[in-house]
């Protein structure tokens, strides 16, 4: 029984990582209606940034995370302006492949500059676990979980109670109506993308204590993020968070009871099932006409 509770707790905590990565993605996908295939590479860049800050200047990753947010906000603004904006008025496959091209470039730039070595940092609290009633809760994972929840709540307030947030939601609901209402849609897109990127950057920094960074680390995370975003419903932050925890649970439970080698196949299948019965995701709305 003990082990079962531990498995469940580990699963939920792990879902927190996916949640941080997918919140930014669902915002971008829901508002701009684009698939950002380079999302995982932003995570990778954030990991490398945190790594070097730690190795060269002894910056604690949690401190680095605070610096990463504004840095990646700018990075996001830049990417949007240079690469994304030109693709918005073109057929869908253009932005898919432009972001794919960006992902190839970033991955190989990292390989060129840093080589394929797996790099990780050693901070004293990394493997530290709280022990509560025989259940072990790992400290960095708990931090990711809490930050994920806080970010989700914070973003919710931002989107519902600030002017910018409402403008973003309006654009997501109906771009043309938003334009007619005088909203600068171009600026909304830029800010949305930048927020999405800075959130995944934050995720990367927080992930550094427990994981390693290497050029292709982004791929696995982004795949799951896509699943979480679509399952939760495009644009729905609540959906992405809940779907992330669900995936984390499915992963750990199936890995423990069935077989670790098929847990990925399992959540992909769950993903396809959800799509078939609820094509707009668990919490998605029919905001776009098919």
């Amino acid at each position: 029984m003990d082990i079962l509770v531990q498995v469940v707790i580990s699963g939920i905590l792990f879902g927190g990582i996916y949640a941080l990565v997918s919140i930014g993605l669902t915002l971008i996908m829901g508002v701009m209606d684009i698939v950002n295939f380079a999302h995982g590479e932003y995570l990778m860049v954030a990991l490398y940034t945190t790594y070097f800050l730690n190795q060269l200047w002894n910056v604690d990753p949690y401190v680095a995370a605070i610096a990463v947010i504004p840095l990646f906000f700018l990075f996001g603004l830049l990417s949007e302006r240079v690469l994304i904006r030109p693709t918005l008025d073109k057929p869908a496959f253009v932005h898919v492949f432009v972001t794919l091209g960006l992902s190839i470039i970033l991955q190989n730039l990292a390989l060129l500059m840093f080589s394929g070595n797996f790099r990780s940092i050693s901070v004293p609290y990394a493997q530290y676990s709280y022990e509560i009633f025989d259940i072990l809760i790992n400290y960095p994972r708990l931090v990711i979980f809490i930050v994920g929840i806080l970010v989700a709540i914070g973003l919710h307030f931002f989107l519902h109670y600030t002017w910018v947030g409402k403008a973003i939601r309006a654009t997501a609901q109906n771009k043309n109506a938003a334009l007619l209402m005088g909203i600068n849609v171009q600026k909304v897109y830029a800010i949305t993308f930048a927020i999405g990127v800075s959130l995944v950057g934050l995720g990367g920094s927080l992930l550094m204590p427990i994981y390693s960074v290497y050029p292709t680390v982004g791929f696995q995370f982004v795949l799951v993020a896509f699943v979480a975003v679509v399952m939760g419903g495009l644009g729905s932050i609540k959906g992405a968070v809940i779907a992330s925890f669900l995936i984390g649970l499915v992963e750990t439970l199936s890995g423990f009871f069935i077989d670790p080698s098929v847990k990925q196949a399992l959540y992909f299948t769950v993903f396809i099932m959800v799509l078939l019965f609820r094509p707009y995701g668990l919490f998605g709305k029919k905001t776009k006409v098919a």
């Binding site: 498995v7 580990s10 080589s115 990780s120 080698s261």
Partner: protein
């Protein structure tokens, strides 16, 4: 006036043409190399050897290291006068994936006309490239890939000086039976052993061999569990291991998953008395860097990590130190991984012991010379002898005298502890 689109199309086609010309131009250059020097009596024709390694892409990490070791062997041989006065030159190819390996093997054989190829570090690349070599009757020297299939096809031109996956499995099981069981104070029959392995070619073939051979030993395999090397989390695996409470954990992992496995184990309080990984994962510099003190006590089977002056020929100790020195010079003090030494050992055997014996330095001549070799234990940097299986045998081309080493992390260093000829210290096993 050309539109932007048109201009760009023209530019791209121009680039393509440049690429074609560059590709063709390369052929002519090397032909010139071999012809020009025959005029001068003092300088003999160089020996051209092709190399195929993954220098870019996901396998580049180990591929580059192995290639570096091979290259150092070439440099040292040349400094000592070459092979009967002939300089050894490499034509090197990068093969990030099996399709590229096939294409590059073709290119080396057709365009650069090599008769000898050294490769490939990764098993899937090796299987692809060596098949091309065999079809063209070109001598192929595999210095690191361990998949059984590489020398299991009855091919006549493929030779592997290093151990196979089957041999590594044997050594791991030997170690458990002969050393671990007694040290734990347990009868092998009562030993609880679990195997975990990543699911790509390396992990699968190692696991397959362990599962197949374990019946030759007194202990049994409680469970064999595979997982994806790209997994972002292994908590479920670790928790299920913890529930089974093994005495010995055998692990065929790569670097990233070895690190993740070890860290997750610490987080969740899983600490088996003995963990035996491999030099592909648990025995790498990256692993000890990431785990720090927590790596202490973990075993890694596979490629020998250091040469002991007490037990092996002094020349090998000197060579070992020389390789270490040159690698550190090239990479600003970075510690060489075992791949560097392995690449060196294989290349050294070829350049120092095989080629000088060959009547002619072409595929046939080198092949015959390799088959003639019969060297005792201790004749290579890695510590084993040399005796290649003949062309009529099932494992044609495999060095049957090769064996794997077992090492342990002690004080941040990977120390050989088994078998006896290689051991520098005693293994440390606590109950």
């Amino acid at each position: 006036m050309m539109s932007n689109q048109r201009l760009l199309a023209v530019l791209l086609m121009a680039m393509l043409l440049v690429g074609v010309v560059a590709g063709c131009g390369g052929t002519q250059e090397s032909a010139g190399d071999t012809q020009g020097s025959s005029q001068d009596q003092q300088v003999k024709d160089p020996i051209i050897i092709g190399t195929i390694f993954p220098l870019s892409g996901p396998l580049a990490l180990n591929g580059k290291d192995t290639f570096d070791g091979v290259e150092i062997a070439r440099q040292i041989i040349n400094e000592r006068g070459g092979i009967e006065g002939r300089e050894v030159k490499f034509v090197s190819a990068d093969a990030p994936d099996p399709t590229a390996a096939t294409q590059e093997a073709d290119r080396l054989i057709q365009e650069k006309k090599v008769q000898i190829i050294i490769g490939t570090q990764s098993s899937s690349l090796s299987l692809a490239a060596s098949a091309v070599a065999e079809r063209n009757k070109v001598f192929y020297w595999e210095v690191e890939g361990i998949a059984d299939g590489i020398t299991g096809r009855g091919f006549k031109y493929i030779f592997r000086p290093t151990f196979s996956a089957q041999m590594m499995a044997t050594q791991m099981l030997n170690f458990v039976e002969k050393v671990v069981a007694p040290e734990l104070g347990k009868d092998p029959k009562d030993l609880k052993v679990i195997l975990v392995h990543e699911d790509s070619g390396f992990g699968t073939s190692t696991a397959k061999n362990i599962e197949a051979q374990v019946s030759n030993y007194s202990f049994q395999l409680m469970d064999s569990q595979s997982y994806s090397a790209k997994s972002a989390e292994l908590s479920s695996l670790v928790l299920s291991l913890k529930a089974k409470n093994p005495d010995v954990l055998l692990a065929a992992s790569y670097v990233n998953d070895a690190i993740l496995l070890a860290r997750t184990s610490k987080e969740l309080g899983f600490k088996p008395p003995v963990t035996i990984g491999t030099t592909a994962g648990h025995g790498t510099p990256d692993f000890v860097k990431a785990l720090g003190e927590d790596a202490a006590g973990i075993f890694a089977a596979g490629i020998l990590s250091s040469v002991s002056p007490a037990k092996m020929k002094p020349e090998f100790k000197a060579l070992f130190d020389e390789v270490t020195k040159r690698y550190k010079e090239k990479y600003n003090g970075k510690e060489p991984s075992v791949n560097v030494y392995n690449g060196f050992s294989g290349a050294w055997l070829l350049l120092h012991d095989v080629l000088p014996r060959a009547q002619n330095i072409d595929a046939e001549g080198v092949r015959e010379a390799a088959l003639e070799l019969d060297l005792p234990e201790g004749s290579t940097l890695m510590g084993y002898g040399v005796k290649f299986a003949g062309p009529d045998q099932e494992n044609a081309g495999q060095n049957t005298s090769a064996f794997a080493a077992v090492m342990q992390w002690q004080d941040g260093k990977l120390v050989p502890v088994f078998p006896d000829i290689l051991a520098q210290k005693n293994p440390v096993i606590q109950e």
